[in-house]
């Protein structure tokens, strides 16, 4: 029987689901191997009977928690996709501001209608099987995870930094062009997407294990950033990591 696959979204831009829909060349092949039973962005039907649940978006309110728990009960594999779901993504930036202040700043009088709490990734609420990070996810990597699952192989997200992929591609290093880049401490798997487009890595996939954050901050400040801006740089996407929170 074909594995039944479901997609769910929480606080997000839905770019990760869209990345899946954007795999025009592979889509027909993919749906020949799986049954998509839940994909709100693309279909009306919904089912609670599924094997694999891909979850997009971060958890930002009470209401999300029972919904996530239900998904965990139903699915054999729970796989958060995208920065929002894996590390809180840009939504995590909210946590660096005072919660009430930011609510009133954006919604003024209507702020009371919002129930919102500090942004958290999916794994902070339910156990997950593995994650596909990135903002947005890289379709190639997503596909490779799906293929691995389908043939019964444990998918693997690299534990080396973006620099590796950047070097494999023979890119000119951003520092060589006088630009900054977080590639040395950011988990690879995106194919060095940003540096390959001549733009510094922004760390959307989160930090590698054991990042040498102090040394990287020194690199950034040597390249002209203030310490404050260097820390801000990490907080675009990697605020969730202990190394950055401090």
């Amino acid at each position: 029987m074909k594995p039944r696959v479901a997609f769910f979204d929480f606080a997000s831009c839905e770019g990760c689901q869209l990345s899946v829909i954007n795999m025009e060349n592979e889509l027909l092949d993919i749906v020949s191997h799986i049954d998509i039973v839940n994909f709100r962005e693309a279909m009306t039907e919904a089912s609670d009977d599924y094997d694999i649940a891909f979850i997009e978006g971060s958890v930002t309110r009470e209401y999300d928690i029972p919904r996530l728990k239900k998904i965990r009960e139903n699915a054999k594999f729970v796989i958060p996709i995208g920065a929002c779901a894996c590390t809180g993504g840009v939504n995590f930036r909210k946590n660096f501001y005072e919660l009430n202040e930011i609510r009133y700043y954006v919604y003024r009088d209507s702020a009371k209608y919002f129930d919102t709490f500090a942004t958290r990734p999916v794994k902070a609420v339910i156990p997950v099987d593995f994650e596909i990070p990135g903002c947005p996810i890289n379709a190639k990597e997503f596909l490779s995870v799906v293929k691995s699952l389908l043939i019964g192989k444990k998918p693997e997200i690299p534990n080396y930094p973006v620099c590796v992929e950047c070097k494999l591609l023979g890119n000119v290093c951003m520092y060589d062009k006088g630009e900054v880049c977080l590639g040395a401490v950011t988990r690879a798997g995106c194919g060095a997407w940003c540096p390959s487009n001549s733009s510094g890595c922004e760390g959307c996939r989160g930090l590698v294990d054991e990042p040498n954050k102090n040394s990287e901050i020194e690199v950034l400040t040597k390249a002209g950033l203030t310490v404050e801006d260097a820390i801000q740089k990490f907080r675009i996407f990697a605020g969730y990591f202990e190394e950055v929170k401090k």
Partner: protein, 282 residues
């Protein structure tokens, strides 16, 4: 450039058929493989193969059977990652896997002739040592060696590998077998409790004519060696099989390198004097 080059790929495995599959513990399983043409692996005890599953990957696994067992070979595999889990969960008797090798040096058993043998196995370390144990105990070879001592330790009573065989060793008059568990979780266990080094004082070996062979988890080596040294064991009589990450098995990929040696080429078996010269070995 280089004359006499084989036209083959070093990385192309040959197929072997799984003919037995048996669960040992939650994590470890036993497998028997045969080549369709009935040929032997022609390995030495202590050597390993690269076990390959297309689409999944390759993993180095010690050959656990003795070369005296003809027509098939045996592996004992712990499920830790891609290849090993796939082998456990997705392949059954009748399936084919790819095999490259045997690789590595294996034990220099010619040098052990006439000696007493002291086997010290920790956990999965019994897998490569069993090949040499069974070689030593084979009726055609048994008279080439003196006394045989087997020390085997496990985390707890649920973790024994090759349990039936271990029982047969216990029952053999020409073998002294000592077992221990790190932690006693089972009231049926009447034997020794403690790490494997606690067994060494119990054995009455003759340091002048005994070879010690060690294999186990990385932390074990230092302490076992220390304990043997306490008993005045000769360094040159201590052998060990080391684990390292390996991708190719043929001395190219670099993962198994310790200082100037490649474990897949010069090892995985080393004598203690050699290991002493390597700063990162144990």
């Amino acid at each position: 450039m280089v004359a006499n080059i084989q036209e083959k790929s070093l990385y192309l495995p040959r197929l072997a058929k799984m003919t037995k599959k048996e669960r040992f513990t939650e994590k470890e399983m036993f497998f028997e493989f045969r080549f369709d043409d009935g040929s032997n692996l022609n390995h030495r005890p202590g050597q390993f193969v690269e076990l390959s599953i297309y689409g999944i990957g390759e993993a180095p696994i010690s050959i656990s059977s003795s070369p005296t067992q003809q027509g098939y070979f045996e592996l004992c595999v712990r499920a830790v990652g891609r290849v090993t889990n796939y082998l456990h969960k997705n392949l059954d008797v009748g399936s084919y896997v790819g095999i490259r090798g045997p690789f590595g040096n294996g034990f220099p058993y010619e040098k052990f002739k006439g000696y007493d043998m002291l086997f010290i196995c920790g956990g999965l370390g019994v897998a490569p040592l069993r090949s040499l144990i069974n070689y030593t105990l084979d009726k055609t070879k048994r008279n080439e060696f003196g006394k045989v001592y087997i020390l085997y330790g496990c985390k707890n009573n649920q973790e024994w590998l090759y349990q039936k065989e271990v029982e047969s060793w216990l029952n053999r008059a020409d073998v002294e077998t000592y077992l221990t568990v790190d932690k006693c979780t089972d009231s049926n266990w009447k034997g020794n409790v403690g790490v494997i080094t606690t067994l060494i004082p119990k054995v009455n070996f003759d340091v002048n004519k005994t070879i010690a062979v060690i294999c186990g988890p990385p932390v074990m080596y230092k302490f076992v060696v220390l304990e043997l040294k306490n008993r005045n064991f000769k360094e040159e009589n201590i052998y060990m099989s080391l684990e390292r990450k390996m991708k190719c098995g043929v001395g190219k990929c670099g993962h198994c390198q310790i200082n100037n040696v490649y474990v897949c080429q010069s090892g995985p078996v080393f004598d203690l004097p050699t290991v002493r010269k390597l700063q990162e070995a144990i």
